[in-house]
């Protein structure tokens, strides 16, 4: 029997045993819940730019809606206009919250218009409606006075906006993707890395490892375990991403920028790399522990490293994705799995940087398997207390 088949058997057992376990299903449901909350919570909390609803009583001057759209656009607001039969109805709807403002058009041209709100808390909206009204009614008066409507329109047109740094329509979505992407990546890497850790300790604690190792080489057992659990993680990640993008799009929360495919591919690639790195390290450290209670202690160096990387990604790199710190972190294996997809989602990384980071990470994983595989095989049969890294290394010396 080949070593490849032994690895396959180990991986297959992990997939079958864990794939139908309650823990897997629960972690899947929980992650989806977090995801939905992450996408919709900002909207529910009201911090989002929704369309303002303006009710109009009476007939506004001809150019009003056009002027409103123009001024609202400049203030980056969206205003929907509907007509309301009378002031009483409008006030009732303001009170129940189905209108944000009501414009009462004077019966006579030149009369004084009235803008009614429930509470004066949105000055930008009031300004937009106010200036649109002033412009439209002035135009009306001028046009009625016989001045060429085209001249009036030209004169009342607001100045065009010119940006020195043009804003990208997809930038907000990219930012959201980068943010959510790093969170999902961290959770996924850590969840499934911990599975490898506990799996190793369980095998050691239940002593089954001695039976398994009478036919399977220690390193192959570790590789099979990492592989099997990793495939489960990948499946879960794909489900989550597809689910997240679908509800996000269908609900109109965001529209997919053309870079979506590349961003998702990047996320999956770096899950693969980051998970393999962290789960292998956790598995090796787990072998040093004899009981589950010692596992978290034994694995704390790696857990701390992962958490620091995550915090660095979310606090530093996301603010300044092409700064020096983020550029250096791109090539440091513990951090790069979170930095590279983040910088890529923000469009702030060069292809060569991605390629180099991949090469460095793969080389590191290879070293980790060489070094860690030996520590693992030296430690996994030792019982009775937590083992030191150096003793495990020596125990495996051939």
């Amino acid at each position: 029997m080949s070593r490849a088949r032994a690895i396959y058997l180990v991986a297959r057992r992990e997939i079958l045993e864990r794939g139908r376990s309650r823990a897997f299903l629960i972690s899947l449901v929980l992650t989806v819940v977090f995801l939905v909350a992450g996408i919709f919570l900002p909207k529910l909390l009201g911090g989002e730019d929704q369309a303002h609803k303006l009710g109009v009583v009476g007939t506004p001057p001809a150019g009003f809606e056009q002027a409103l759209t123009a001024t609202a656009g400049q203030a980056q607001l969206k205003v929907n206009v509907e007509s309301v039969p009378d002031v009483a109805t409008g006030e009732a709807r303001l009170n129940e919250g189905t209108l944000d403002g009501m414009l009462v058009v004077p019966a006579e041209p030149g009369g004084s218009a009235e803008f009614v709100v429930k509470k004066r808390d949105n000055s930008a909206f009031a300004q937009v409606v106010g200036s649109a009204w002033s412009a439209a009614s002035a135009s009306q008066v001028l046009t009625d006075a016989g001045i060429d409507p085209a001249t009036v329109a030209a004169a009342s047109r607001p100045p065009t906006l010119r940006e020195l740094e043009p804003s990208d329509a997809n930038r907000d979505t990219a930012f959201l993707f980068a943010n959510v992407g790093v969170i999902i990546l961290f959770i996924a890497i850590f969840t499934f890395g911990t599975w490898v850790l506990t799996g190793v300790v369980e095998e050691k604690q239940s002593r089954v490892v001695e039976v398994v190792l009478s036919t399977v080489q220690a390193r192959d057992l570790l590789v099979g375990k990492v592989l099997g659990i990793g495939l489960l993680g990948l499946v879960q990640l794909v489900i989550i991403i597809v689910f997240g993008l679908t509800i996000g799009t269908v609900s109109g929360r965001f529209s997919l920028p053309p870079t979506t495919g590349a961003a998702v591919a990047m996320l999956l690639l770096w899950f693969g790399i980051g998970y393999t790195f962290y789960s292998t390290a956790l598995g090796v450290l787990g072998a040093l522990a004899s009981r589950m209670e010692e596992a978290s202690n034994a694995s704390s160096p790696v857990s701390i490293l992962a958490s620091l990387s995550y915090v660095f990604a979310l606090l530093v790199a996301i603010q300044n994705p092409d700064g020096v710190a983020a550029r250096i972190a791109t090539f440091l294996p513990p951090v790069s799995p979170m930095i590279v997809p983040l910088r890529a989602a923000l469009g702030a990384i060069e292809p060569w940087e991605v390629a180099l980071a991949v090469v460095i990470n793969l080389a590191t994983i290879w070293l980790l398997l060489e070094f860690g595989g030996r520590v693992y095989s030296g430690a996994v049969l030792q019982t009775g207390g937590r083992m030191k890294l150096r003793d495990a290394w020596r125990a495996a010396r051939r």
Binding site: R207, V211, S214, Q217
Partner: protein, 296 residues
């Protein structure tokens, strides 16, 4: 044939094995005996590559034992352990496949062995749902399911009830009859005497005695003499023939005598003291051979 050649292994300052050598022939049941810490488990771990000897080698049919050879061996470690939450049937099939059986064959062998072990109706239960004794049976199943050429069992009888012991004995005999090499360690010497043809006694990392039990007993320099003389107690003995009293119950005495003791003289002395009800000359029991080998 299993050959252990000059195995030596140190763990730090502790010498676990110090040039141990012995052989075990297929079709024979070999009892591997020794006090705690004598090197039994380390020897077994060396056979399965779980410990690497500092010196010496292990051979199967004249070839060094490697990973591929080991696939044809069955192992039951002293520290029992299986996957607690895995179903019994899937578990045995998993181990059979690790020994190189294709999935289909492994499943068939699993059903066959579970039936043989009286666990046919537990195939779909998780291991942890089984009683301790039944978990032991599954553990034995894991060592047997792939029809190994060599069975190495570390303390297979420990923790078994009489019925479990009978089942285990029957299976070991049946496997040996089928030409399988069987090596097991045990501290239950009466059981070993009953089950084994050969024994290997290890002490302080070295082999102290080794061979068929009958030959070892015959080769011993000592014999047991059991004598019962009505109404005489042990008075007739009177320091005769280098005999020492091991046990005395009323008129019954059990003596330890040299193999060349003057039996006629002893019998004459006994007859002179009164009517002789019993006069039996026997080689020593395995437990005595063991003590002798271990203490020398």
């Amino acid at each position: 044939m299993l050959e252990i050649k000059d195995l030596s292994k140190r763990y730090g300052d502790v010498v676990a094995l110090d040039g141990a050598s012995f052989t075990a022939r297929p079709g024979r049941i070999v009892g591997f005996l020794g006090p705690n810490g004598a090197g039994k488990t380390t020897t077994m771990r060396c056979i399965f590559g779980l410990a690497t000897p500092d010196r010496g080698e292990t051979l199967w049919h004249g070839q060094p034992i490697d990973r591929v050879t080991r696939l044809r061996f069955g192992y039951m470690p002293e520290q029992r352990g299986l996957y607690p939450r895995m179903r019994v049937g899937e578990q045995l099939s998993y181990f059979a496949q690790h020994h190189g059986m294709p999935a289909k064959e492994a499943n068939a062998a699993t059903s066959r062995w579970l039936a043989r072990l009286g666990l046919a109706d537990r195939e779909r239960d998780k291991l942890e749902a089984l009683s301790h004794g039944n978990q032991q049976r599954v553990q034995l199943g894991a060592a047997l399911v792939h029809d190994p050429e060599l069975l190495v069992l570390d303390e297979p009888f420990s923790g078994l009830d009489p019925i479990g012991i009978a089942t285990m004995t029957e299976i070991l005999r049946e496997r040996a009859a089928a030409g399988v090499g069987v090596v097991f360690s045990s501290h239950q010497l009466d059981l070993v005497e009953d089950v084994c043809e050969d024994v290997v006694i290890i002490a302080r990392g070295r082999i102290a005695a080794n061979g068929p039990i009958d030959e070892l007993r015959a080769a011993s320099g000592r014999r047991h003499l059991e004598v019962e003389v009505e109404g005489a107690g042990a008075s007739w003995l009177d320091g005769r023939g280098g005999a020492t009293i091991v046990e005395q119950k009323g008129d019954f005495v059990r003596l330890l005598v040299p193999v060349d003791a003057d039996l006629s003289g002893l019998l004459a002395a006994a007859s002179a003291a009164g009517p002789v009800r019993r006069f039996a000359f026997q080689p020593p029991a395995l437990s005595e051979l063991f003590m002798e080998a271990v203490q020398s």
